[in-house]
Symmetry: D2
Subunit: 484 residues, 4 copies
């Protein structure tokens, strides 16, 4: 199936886990609702592994949660623990074999892993393991993590000790939920790039990438997993290991607040909705304009638009209708009807903008093609002026920690000034949020964001090879081509 042109950044994953102490009953179904709530973090494939008295069963496939799981399938996944995963995949590695959770058998039994993030030393580790005779079935970092833990497990007295030891080997961004025959383990990298939190349903424990998934399953939010922390749930209760904590500065991806996370989530102590509203308020102060109405591009621009309206006093209104029935299998317009492609998804409400000077709020501009079309629609609907405001700074640098940013040359901000961009997309004025505001977005959020995609200051050393993410693919392609 073709797709409407996508001009947005992508998160790579959502993770979920549950350890039933009697209150849950149906762990697969609970995971199903949890993954629904995390679906925005990854729509290419998903899976749930359940643990029934030590025997692990897994179902995963490409597709959305409601496509991959039927009632019959869910009913067949019985157990007392589960891990779930939803995944966004870059083109080319969309294959089913890369879907997660990853289920592996090793010397001490089974292990299912769900992972969100990107290692910066995956290629090095992979090469090292292969030199020792390892075989790989996937091209994911998750399998590298699985090997690292397995190798430690031989020396270590327990699976949690193996995880802690493995964390000394792996570098980069990772929020992990791991299920062994008897334990459910959550681990977050020492810099805390990706979110991970913990909730309760009575005595039962739930882990999730975002708090909205706890809400969706009726769990009470307990706390965020700390950067570097490992939490183990077993028959013996809950045990926390903090030896990797506070070793490194906090580096939560700031784009979680701007775009990735759901507005109803609370991440590391701060409300996502409030952070976006605040971004809108900063924008109104930094880039004021004389206008009649503030409109957000649905869905991600709405919260910031509200903030802009509050701060500026210019009335907020709903200026677009977003078609909610456009699914994965939507057939894109052919060349002849391409002109109109954005309008199938997003139709301006003429009565709101006709004869008005419009402030249009979006979260970011990647290539600019979609923005150009949206602005055109606004004008066609009768807007006399269009002033675009963006709730993030311009993207300039690649991300090595799990966000699929296009190579720099495709980023419109990389080789154009703000004035040039304004001209290209056809707005009367254009304003980006400044980098120095980012630290003030998330009230109550523990200090420290990764803002490398805006600044180029990477909190950990990026991989040597310049092409992020594609390293080991390239490597093995090379081998294959030159190999035997």
């Amino acid at each position: 199936m073709e797709k409407l042109p996508c001009d947005k950044l992508h998160e790579e994953c959502g993770v979920f886990g549950v350890y039933d102490r009697g209150e849950v009953g149906d762990v697969a179904r609970l995971s199903y609702y949890g993954l629904y709530a995390l679906q925005h973090r990854g729509q290419e494939s998903c899976g749930i592994a359940v643990n029934d008295d030590g025997v692990i069963n897994l179902h995963k496939d490409t597709g959305l949660v409601n496509e991959v799981f039927t009632k019959e399938k869910l009913d067949s996944l019985t157990g007392q623990m589960a891990v779930g995963h939803c995944r966004y995949a870059t083109t080319g590695s969309k294959r089913r074999s890369n879907a997660q959770p990853l289920l592996v058998r090793h010397i001490k039994g089974h292990m299912a892993l769900a992972h969100n993030g990107n290692l910066t030393n995956a290629a090095e580790l992979r090469e090292q393991y292969e030199m020792e005779g390892a075989i790989f079935h996937t091209t994911t970092d998750t399998e590298v993590i699985a090997y690292t833990i397995t190798k430690e497990r031989i020396r270590q007295p327990s699976i949690e000790r193996a995880v802690l030891a493995a964390m000394e080997k792996i570098a980069g961004a990772y929020s992990l939920v791991i299920m062994s025959p008897r334990k459910l383990i959550a681990a977050r990298d020492p810099m805390g790039f990706r979110p991970l939190c913990m909730g309760r349903i009575g005595e039962s424990v739930v882990f999730a990438s975002e708090s909205c998934a706890l809400d969706a399953v009726g769990a009470t939010f307990e706390r965020d997993i700390e950067p570097g922390e490992v939490v183990v749930v077993s028959e013996d209760g809950i045990q926390c290991y903090t030896e990797h904590c506070n070793k490194a500065p906090r580096s939560l991806c700031v784009f979680e607040f701007i775009y990735f996370a759901r507005p109803d989530s609370v991440v590391d102590g701060a409300s996502v909705h409030m952070a976006r509203q605040k971004a809108g308020q900063f924008l109104a102060r930094q880039h004021p304009v004389d206008a009649d109405v503030v409109i957000g591009v649905p869905d991600s621009g709405l919260d910031a638009a509200l903030g802009y309206s509050m701060e500026s006093g210019i009335p907020f209104n709903l200026g677009f209708l977003k078609n909610k029935y456009i699914g994965r299998t939507f057939i894109a317009p052919n060349q002849a009807q391409r002109e109109n492609d954005v309008r199938v998804k997003l139709n301006p409400i003429s009565s709101v903008v006709k004869g008005k000077r419009v402030v249009l709020i979006d979260d970011s501009i990647v290539r600019g093609t979609t923005s150009k079309k949206i602005v055109k629609l606004m004008r066609k609907a009768g807007a006399t002026e269009v002033h675009m405001r963006l709730s993030s700074p311009p993207f300039l640098y690649p991300c090595y920690f799990g966000v699929d940013i296009d190579s720099s040359e495709n980023l419109i901000a990389y080789n154009h000034t703000v004035e040039q961009i304004a001209q290209i997309i056809g707005v009367d004025s254009l304003g980006y949020l400044s980098v120095d505001c980012l630290d003030q977005l998330a009230d109550g959020c523990k200090e420290g964001f990764c803002k490398a995609c805006f600044t180029g200051n990477y909190p950990v050393k990026p991989p040597k090879k310049t092409e992020k993410n594609k390293f080991e693919c390239k490597l093995s392609e090379r081998r294959e081509k030159n190999g035997e």
Copy 2:
């Protein structure tokens, strides 16, 4: 597949038609986008019939537009004309055989019909035709209309004359798009219960239930089809027949403005978004309250909430996150997890409502079960007071013109006072829009609404049998049971 409990009214159909005079090229694909835009009017089944130089091909099935049509299927539907239809069906008649367009062969060739509405004399006509030897393949009114036109066609010199003659026989609500081998015909009942409009792509003509479908396909809105009007497009150009116009008072369903139509549509001259915003403004005047924030229940309550905020001065905010990934095949929570079912779809944003007195705007209350759950969620999220306001009057009477309203005994307003309802759903105060405001909602809209579901004053005589819509089913069941 199970469904989340549905506590909303349902429209029964959306219709679409296109006559290509050279600008369209791919009429099936155009209809596909048109039906996408009308999907909110019917999600149970859909279909597209194309006319390739007089040969009509049809594909229809149960499912959403993007489920029923693949690229291969669309590519196989070539032609110069098309009619499309999407349908909501009451339980029990969800079968594929009832999907539309209806394709019939008669003495003068083929005919494809797409119909939105409900006849009030379908059962009588059906019985009369059966007495003359007719056989029926479906239980739809559409087949009764097809027979009426076919029978007139024997006597009449043309298909359009047959349609005009048939309109003297059929009573009730109907917006029709009919395709014969050489003509595309749009017809609207003399009271104009259901919307129907016309647009252009150059010289090509498009008909659609709502103007949002014209926008989606890049057509320019031309005008609404007048109540009683028949518009015929053929090689000879466009011809309008107005002999049935102005025979009866206009009776557009007012619920099209309140709930059914998409906010970006303009129906009979008035913006749907503006009508809803106005409803919110009236509500603010009729039911003021001292509060901190106005929140709309997504998606239909948002426009009215904005209106309430404007009029009252109480700030508007986004208080819910609606999960956009919950599709038709979503698996409903089982009994144990039922408590939480609404939250999977609709999660409150705690930071917005915590410690606040909330005005909560929704379009209507049917049974009250969902409202009760939503109010509970608001309180759990920290709202100190919840004041519910509804942008329609209380439902009290059944609809015979195409809306699937539950029998009166299931309508909470039928046997409870407003105070009782407030207590049942757990709000601090409750206010309905008054009936006398309805006529003022749609600025610029030509005079005259059907408000029978609120008032019981039916613009045409309802069917004799008390059980609306189910007449002929009952009839044939009786026959079957007692028959041979």
Copy 3:
């Protein structure tokens, strides 16, 4: 999906019916097994209609029985009566809407019809009904029969009387199973073109096109339905109406014995296997040859090959392996690999034919393309001589009674002598069964076959229009093209 080139004649249908008097329990499942056994009579679409205390439910679709019905679907079809149908469709009318049973609603209730055969006056009747205002949903003869019965039903006191009256109007070949709310009716045309038989499971009654379907469902064969007979099963027991019997000479399609029917069936008193074996014996007498081994082309040539071997004394052997896994969705070889296409389905067993003079028995030659490839395979496998013998006379004339014979110009026998055909397909000698043997094939079979495809002597007047079967299509195409 593409198909391997098909060079065989096609029957158009199989019909099945059951009336449960307590022994059956699951009438849908019984029909499912019955249709499996009749699948060779039609593989394009199938359906089952069940009657649950007067309410008729139907499921039908394109596909084989095991593709169209799932366990869930079968389980949902409960009742005390059922009719089933499987259908072969000529290209172009393969659409789902033409699948059977046909379910119609008329003045006295519901009626489901399953039909095998071809009317010779369908086009005339159709035109007449359309002139009276009838609309048609399909292009099948079955709908014409349904109308004829419905129209008679107005005047007649019962459904069976309506069927008997309708039989005076319709002409040609038909074996029908009809289900009304209270009755199950079997009817066979007065010349008995197509088979139809009746069996028992205790007091319950089963109708089927062939006796093999009775065996498959554990029913005891009772008798064939006589040409012209109508059998009615109801609460009042079984009633037979013979007023149309013995009005016309018996004209059972002789090709039922040669190719269509399953060898384990007994049709009108004669074993199909034995008839084919006998055809082989006649061939051995009429076309003897000095050879080492007799081989049948699977599956239909095996029985005759056995007969040839018995009569000639030349040893029979299994010379081909037929791949049983090639299903409907098999992907045909592309041009480059086309050479080999037959071999994917049919592989010679070299050890059987190497160095041998082979007598190769097949049932018939249509175009000759497949025969040519098979002969080539035989030679490549080492056969020193190939002598082909066919268990039917040459096809020369079109069939109007339900067999899909290509137009004469595509029949190799139409414009070539036997010697020319032998040369074209590359055999050392070629022999057809003579027409005068046909009457002696079926021992014990009641006198009288239709042999029109070999002789041109049609037992009833063929339709005026020369293009069989396609009449009404052509007609309506004409109408559509010239029409409005």
Copy 4:
């Protein structure tokens, strides 16, 4: 989907490989036809991996070849080499993750493996590798082989040297086709338990489990791969490594001739059809009987029945019709209709057996339940006597080399005498082929069969644990249950 009761032995796999030197063009499509021809060796899952200039793409899933591959899927698999696999799986390990070919990435690139057979030391090797930190994704022997080769590859200069070295580590039955980025390798275990042969299409090379797959793709049979041989195809041509040949006695599974292989295949020099016909001849000599007709149970009993007829002079006939439309998704009769289940698949032809003394030939009896039903059908069809003859000796011992024989207690021959079995299944006499005939079945076949299932003399030491095949499953279950 349920299945009809299966009372047959199962082979576990078919393998296929092709190296295109210009004549093939579409290697995936060629593999597709090859797998069709091998489908009888495994119907649970299948897959094809193609190699496009060093980049390996794979598609595999549960289902038959024509279910797993669509035209689109095949068209997407382009390349110059391919390996294919079809697999039968014992219940419980039917999961998709165990489907083959297995694709792994290792230090020197990619490798795709297709394997037929069963290792006797898989569990030991697996444990050893896990002790060194290995992780496993499947429960198949194939992954153990992949690890063994990968580990050797570190030390060895080439993939073929690694395969040769690995063959010193692995024990048991294996016929392998392996694809590396640049080479296609076929290897057969030193005792030659499973067949493997090689053919040519011009300069292109094809490997297949059976010669019938070479025929199906238009390849010319070249020779069998010798036990212990490794054949490597690359840009440098074809190289054969024979260092493991002639180290051990030949032990081809004799059941390949009796039941598994297709009759049109030639295995290790002998025709399968002829071997079966010969088995029938031996049976006629060892167990003569006075009778009127010889009938084979289709399909596997037909060849032997022909042999029995030839030797005894009793006429052969076709006494059963086997329904060819019963596919994987066939719905089994429910309890009430269970009585009749065999008859849906296999219907006796009454005219052939009525009043006759029948010799009934089948290949083997496993549990006896099906035989009992078939004999009953014969008698019901009118046979006066039924004498059963089996073209194999009684099964008494488990197989460790790839055949899924039930545990001994379920084998009817294990705890019953021939007389007792005859009584249980209801025949007048019963005769098994004697073990000493087995060596004479395959004329021209190189000496030496494995007959261990009949004699208990295993050519290699069976695994220590008594429960064959299930060792590592048990092991890991134990670990999981007792583990962490």
